[in-house]
């Protein structure tokens, strides 16, 4: 019920937007007849596309993703020829009227339920002529009537619970039908977008591989070479200078231990084993426990996401918490992770002095690179004086 009400209220919002957009379109169209309207054609079309895109985003959060056609055309002639624009006009007409009415009905039901359900408590206070049910009649004069209104309140609740989800679906239907792209529409923009993100993903992947290669060659391998060099030296010294050989062997052992430590770091950078062992929540708890700044972790993610998504989420939180303790001067930080449909949302907040800057050479660049690779989004708000909030959204890919 709560979800249905949320959808209905959201739908009411886009209905109002659709109404404004439709009104503006009609005004501009009328203005075109006398000439001045032509100036406003681009804004009207942009407003229309904006309203439609808001509805697309709303419906995408709730069910199947609805892909928009991209930026709006700027001229009447292009708009009239564009089938997706014409379909949006039909949607505007439907949603501004029918969608609006359904939305109003959807929020009236629970309001009426509250009003009539509590009617016996306060009907005595009303002026006698105004003491009616939420329907406006009949006028109530005695307690039997008052409890009759209460029964009506119960009926409202039943209606709201029974029909709320159906109302929300009805309200969404024109959008689902008219705002999707027709099968024959030009998808070149979407293709270009996907190509670009795919290229970015491959690029990030290559960078990641280069980083791993470098840490293996310049770190681990050098340690192991040092081990063999020292062992070779120790063997040569064994007969000549046993005490010296003993000392060299000690150094060789140190170098071998360093190699192991580096190998662990490299492996952890690829896929933290803690993710496999304890899942995302457990892994993030571990990060919080190791953080210098106290962190409250709130993870509500049913099921598991793809390994690459979890690894990126882990990396993002680790990097962000390092930033918090290094730069923010915060006393507390919070990490919230939610999964909604197919998107994982990670919000890292702190009460520090803000002013975080992505160009400041901090870990934010690394975060963005890894998130981009998964086609996710990064939003940073950090006004001077704080607080700082980093929001990362990732497609779950599962």
């Amino acid at each position: 019920m709560r979800e249905a009400l949320e959808h209905l209220v959201g739908g009411l919002g886009t209905a109002v937007l659709a109404f404004v957009a439709a009104l503006w379109l009609i005004l501009v169209a009328a203005g075109c007849l006398v000439g001045v309207g032509l100036l406003f054609v681009p804004t009207a079309l942009r407003l229309q596309r904006f309203a439609a895109d808001r509805e697309r985003a709303r419906l995408s959060r709730w069910g199947n993703e609805i892909v928009g056609p991209g930026p709006a055309p700027a001229r009447w002639r292009d708009a009239i020829r564009d089938p997706s624009v014409r379909r949006e006009w039909r949607w505007l007409a439907w949603h501004a009227t029918f969608g609006f009415a359904v939305g109003i009905l959807g929020i009236t039901l629970p309001l009426n339920a509250v009003r009539d359900g509590t009617f016996p408590l306060w009907w005595k206070l009303l002026p006698p002529a105004d003491a009616t049910s939420s329907l406006g009649y009949p006028v109530i004069t005695d307690w039997v009537g008052a409890f009759g209104v209460w029964a009506l309140g119960v009926a409202w609740i039943a209606l709201a619970v029974g029909f709320g989800p159906a109302l929300a679906r009805w309200q969404a239907r024109p959008g689902r039908r008219l705002l999707t792209l027709p099968a024959d529409v030009d998808l070149s923009l979407r293709v270009a977008e996907l190509t670009a993100t795919r290229a970015a993903a491959l690029d990030a992947h290559a960078t990641e591989l280069r980083r791993i290669e470098r840490s293996l060659h310049d770190g681990t391998q050098n340690r192991l070479v040092a081990v063999t060099v020292l062992l070779g030296a120790a063997r040569r010294a064994l007969t000549r200078d046993p005490a010296g050989a003993e000392q060299i062997l000690g150094r060789a052992q140190d170098a071998a231990e360093q190699a192991l430590a580096e190998l662990r770091t490299v492996a952890r950078g690829i896929l933290p084993p803690v993710l496999t062992d304890r899942g995302l929540e457990g892994a993030l708890d571990g990060l919080a426990a190791a953080s210098a700044v106290p962190v409250r972790i709130d993870v509500d993610v049913p099921g598991r996401c793809a390994a690459s998504v979890e690894a990126t989420a882990y990396f993002v939180v680790a990097e962000a918490l390092t930033n918090v303790s290094k730069h923010s001067g915060a006393a507390h930080a919070t990490v919230t992770v939610r999964r909604r449909n197919d998107r994982l949302t990670i919000v890292i907040g702190d009460d520090g002095h803000g002013g975080a800057d992505e160009d400041g050479g901090s870990g934010l660049t690394g975060i963005r690179r890894r998130v981009d690779a998964l086609d996710g989004t990064v939003t940073l708000t950090s006004p001077p004086g704080g607080p700082t909030t980093l929001t990362v959204e990732l497609p779950c890919g599962s």
Binding site: R214, Q221, N222, A226, V229, L230, A233, R236
Partner: protein, 219 residues
């Protein structure tokens, strides 16, 4: 033998210095980057430089560039380059000015102290030391119809050891055959590869490498 070491990894740098000093070799300077290395070469005028390929700032081929520059400043300097992995381009760039007083070894060879020291001495004495891995890659990358395929397996072994810079005696020892047999194999190799016979080590290596580079370019 006066030696300068250029290696950015401190543990490895110290390990190398320790190893060489334990062999009573004179390590006059250890450096951690191309600039410090070139300064040390200018200052100490060493006989041999041991140079790591990957050094700061970009960790790609700074060592090769520095080695080539050091040789330009001091042509008689012997250079032994150490690499984390076999990179054909590095070997080719390094050897483009001739193979005398040059070595190119994988880092892990250093642990085989006897072989490493013999390579070091060979380079310092005007010879060549090429890592077996490099030679192996050159040999396998040649085209199937290359003239190399006319060689018998034993002749290939001999050619590979020649390419590493070994002399006839050393080749005979490694393959457990007589020097006379090695001589015979080398004559066969030269005739099969249409090279005029010659026993001098550096010309042999140059010839072998030139031939290998050529087949590699055609492949």
């Amino acid at each position: 033998m006066r030696i300068v070491i250029a290696e950015d990894d401190s543990l490895l740098r110290e390990g190398l210095a320790l190893l060489l000093r334990a062999e009573s070799l004179d390590v006059v300077a250890t450096t951690d980057g191309p600039e410090a290395f070139l300064a040390a070469v200018d200052e100490h005028k060493p006989d041999v430089a041991i140079v790591d390929v990957r050094m700061p700032p970009t960790h790609t081929d700074e060592g090769i560039t520095a080695a080539v520059e050091a040789r330009r400043r001091q042509p008689e300097l012997a250079v032994l380059v150490l690499s984390a992995y076999v990179e054909q381009a590095f070997a080719t760039e390094l050897l483009s000015g001739g193979a005398a007083r040059l070595g190119y070894l994988l880092k892990e060879r250093v642990g085989r102290v006897e072989e490493f020291l013999s390579a070091l001495h060979r380079v310092a004495d005007g010879g060549t030391a090429i890592d077996p891995e490099v030679v192996g890659q050159l040999l396998t990358r040649t085209r199937p119809d290359a003239a190399l395929n006319r060689l018998s397996p034993r002749e290939r072994d001999v050619l590979a050891l020649m390419a590493e810079g070994l002399g006839n005696t050393a080749i005979a020892e490694r393959l457990f055959v007589t020097e006379g047999a090695v001589h015979k194999h080398i004559r066969n190799i030269f005739s099969k590869l249409d090279l005029p016979p010659d026993d001098r080590a550096d010309r042999r290596v140059t010839a072998v490498l030139r031939y290998l580079e050529d087949t590699q370019r055609r492949a």
